[in-house]
């Protein structure tokens, strides 16, 4: 039971990172972006490319960091992947969403996002093949924290959790203490009023995509570290991430963080009660329950 709880927290940290980006985009641009999870895929694969590149150019970087399976080369790749994914998100907005936004309705945006998701997924499959990749073929063994009750934790997962929490903390400070953060929140709250106050809407939208893409890249890489990388990452993660966003309440960054953990923990705990085949249904049950009880999510406010 304790093990399930811990496992859930660790899975939840990846979902949270993805959900934070999604909730920002959804709140500011007011559409359900089904292609957001594909950004995780872009992040994971670009890190794979940079990792191979750095390892080949600078062999000393292939040493693992402490007890982690992450190498220095991969750590460096995270930074590059972050930028690439952020820019990809921006590019997709320029090419697709911006045009649809100017002409179509919110529903057109949702359909466009489905299309974008398909395209990204298949392009990734075309380039890298449909098989799975791994950052490291070594298996890092879990550390036994306690024998009774049995509690095992992998160093990678602890690192993922700590890093995710750190990133969220930084996000919190940026949003609550800086002018940039105020501007972002103002635009999310009321775009027209924000513009009246001299905030450039287009800049803010670009910023949201950059930040959302960057967070997605980190989530994708962390996912790849503890699982494996395949072109189906987006398809597999889109619903849990949506569930986390909806549970937390669209637009609430703290809600998204909490939502990620709730979805992760409940899917993990569900196994203790339900037969193992039913665990994928948990995110949906949570979405339904939250929407029935608190239609705007746990932290959500009614949008005007």
């Amino acid at each position: 039971m304790i093990q399930n709880l811990v496992d859930g927290v660790l899975v939840g940290s990846v979902l949270s990172l993805g959900a934070v980006g999604l909730t920002m985009v959804m709140h500011m641009l007011r559409f359900a972006n089904f292609s957001h999870a594909e950004l995780l895929s872009i992040g994971a694969y670009s890190a794979l490319v940079f990792d191979a590149l750095f390892s080949a150019m600078m062999p000393p970087l292939t040493a693992a960091i402490g007890p982690l399976s992450m190498t220095w080369a991969l750590a460096l790749s995270v930074v590059f992947s972050l930028v690439i994914t952020g820019l990809s998100a921006l590019l997709i907005d320029r090419l697709v969403f911006k045009r649809v936004r100017e002409k179509g309705s919110e529903l057109s945006m949702v359909f466009a996002s489905f299309g974008v998701a398909m395209i990204i997924r298949n392009v990734v499959g075309l380039i890298f093949g449909l098989g799975t990749h791994l950052y490291s073929k070594d298996i890092v063994f879990a550390v036994v924290l306690s024998r009774d009750p049995l509690l095992l934790v992998k160093p990678d997962q602890v690192f993922t959790l700590v890093a995710a929490l750190l990133i969220m903390l930084i996000m919190h400070f940026v949003l609550s203490r800086t002018t940039l953060g105020y501007s972002l929140r103002a635009v999310a709250e009321n775009p027209t009023l924000a513009q009246v106050n001299g905030i450039r809407l287009s800049h803010m939208i670009a910023l949201v995509w950059l930040v959302g893409g960057g967070l997605a890249a980190v989530a994708g890489i962390f996912y790849g570290l503890s699982n494996q990388i395949s072109p189906m990452i987006g398809r597999d993660l889109v619903l849990p991430i949506f569930a986390a966003t909806i549970v937390g309440g669209i637009g609430s960054i703290y809600g998204a963080v909490l939502g990620g953990f709730i979805v992760g923990i409940s899917a993990s705990l569900a196994l203790a009660i339900l037969p193992s085949g039913y665990s994928p249904s948990m995110p949906f049950l949570i979405i339904l329950a939250v929407l029935l009880i608190r239609p705007n999510g746990l932290f959500g406010e009614e949008q005007t």
Partner: protein, 419 residues
């Protein structure tokens, strides 16, 4: 533009009159048998041609009950609807009492339930493997009219359990893919393991595309099994095994043939798979199987390497032998009831060729029974019309897999009977 039907008549009748005196009578009458096979797909055509090959040989030996056999072939297009229409036409218009087909379980099943069983026609399939047929037969839904020469998942489950026992594992956790096949095989192996006195500590369903398999793996780990059995596909299989190993799970593994994949080996790492043994069904290593390969090569000038060829040959040959045993103008039910008489382990052994068919006719006329020694070995159906097959136990190597052990048909049968 595929032809709807194709008539294969005895080619070499005149040529063999000297060898088989009864051949002269064969031209007096013809008996039709129906065939519904996916001739419009590249792997389906050889299956149909092999069935036709069996018919040729039987006609060479003078046909069934003195009548030449006419095989009416219809294309199923691997489509249940097309297959059912084809089977209906064969049964209603051509009046066949024996139907050979289909390949896919999804086509064979609707033909069985909506055409052959209602009409009382005997159906022989070369290649359908679904466990649903066994279930249907157990429930009495096939009226004993259904036979297949393709081994079910039961073979792999039985051999998997044997491997576990031979390795001396006292307890096993089962991890299975959450689909028809995985559920089927996990139930079968769980029963087999328990029968062998091995404790099944957990049976965990694995859905593909999950963000993490930790919870599932943790559940399997909970019972602290000495080994794991995996009926998984390579993709999620690699994720699950990596998670399993990293959490300190045992490296004692038994795997179904689905994990016989380089991707799986590479992503897990050969160093962790030293104690991993896989199972798979195999073609028999008996003289009759070699004889089929030789005669096939002579007839088609290629190796019988496609899927289901030997199975198709045996399905057709057994159907024709059963027709011979059932007597003139026998109904489908009578033919189906005669199958046990031509696959009788205590009967006169007959080979899978024209001479064998002639010998079988002699033995059957004398009131005896025969043991058909076919392309897939000495075929024997159980009460549900299922057969077993020989199996191999394999392990991973640097370059692929290697065979560790060959389990003969007799051994597999003994294992399956032990259930």
């Amino acid at each position: 533009m595929k032809m709807g039907s194709k008539h294969i008549t005895g080619l070499a009748l005149g040529l063999t009159v000297s060898a088989f005196g009864s051949a002269a009578m064969a031209s007096d009458c013809t008996t039709k048998i129906g065939t519904v096979l996916p001739t419009s797909v590249d792997w389906g055509r050889p299956i149909a041609e092999t069935a036709g090959f069996a018919v040729e040989q039987v006609n060479e030996a003078g046909g069934v009950q003195g009548c030449e056999i006419e095989m009416v072939l219809r294309d199923s297009q691997v489509d249940p609807k097309v297959g059912v229409d084809a089977a209906k036409a064969l049964v209603d218009l051509d009046g066949v009492q024996v139907l050979i087909g289909a390949v896919s379980s999804g086509v064979s099943m609707p033909i069985l339930t909506s055409v052959t069983v209602p009409a009382g026609v005997a159906q022989f399939s070369c290649c359908s493997s679904s466990g649903a047929f066994t279930t249907l037969a157990e429930e009495g839904g096939t009226n004993g009219l259904w036979f297949r020469t393709f081994a079910t998942s039961g073979v792999q489950a039985a051999v998997g359990a044997k491997v576990a026992k031979d390795q001396g594992y006292g307890s096993i956790a089962i991890l299975y893919k959450n689909d028809d096949w995985g559920q089927d095989i996990s139930k079968l192996i769980a029963e087999d393991l328990v029968d062998m006195g091995i404790t099944v500590t957990a049976s965990v369903a694995i859905n593909d595309g999950q963000p993490s398999y930790r919870a599932e793996v943790t559940e399997a780990l909970g019972g602290q099994p000495e080994a794991i059995y995996m009926a998984l596909y390579p993709n999620e299989g690699a994720s699950v095994v990596r998670e399993w190993l990293s959490l300190g799970g045992t490296q004692n593994m038994v795997m179904a043939n689905s994990l016989k994949s380089d991707e799986f080996r590479d992503n897990v790492g050969l160093q962790y798979l030293g104690n991993a043994l896989g199972t798979d069904t195999a073609s028999p290593r008996v003289a009759s199987a070699d004889a089929f390969v030789a005669s096939y090569k002579e007839r088609f000038e290629s190796e019988p390497n496609g899927p289901g060829l030997s199975n198709s040959y045996d399905a057709t040959m057994i159907a024709l032998l059963a027709m011979e045993a059932a007597g003139k103008d026998a109904t489908g039910a009578e033919i189906a009831a005669s199958v046990s008489r031509v696959t009788d382990p205590a009967g006169t052994p007959v080979s899978a060729d024209a001479a064998g068919f002639a010998a079988a006719r002699e033995a059957l006329t004398a009131g005896g029974s025969v043991m058909y020694q076919g392309a897939t070995g000495n075929v024997r159906f159980d009460a549900n019309g299922d057969v077993s097959a020989p199996a191999v136990v394999w392990s991973f190597t640097e370059t692929g897999t290697q065979e560790k052990q060959y389990v003969t048909l007799q051994e597999v049968d003994a294992l399956m009977m032990g259930d």
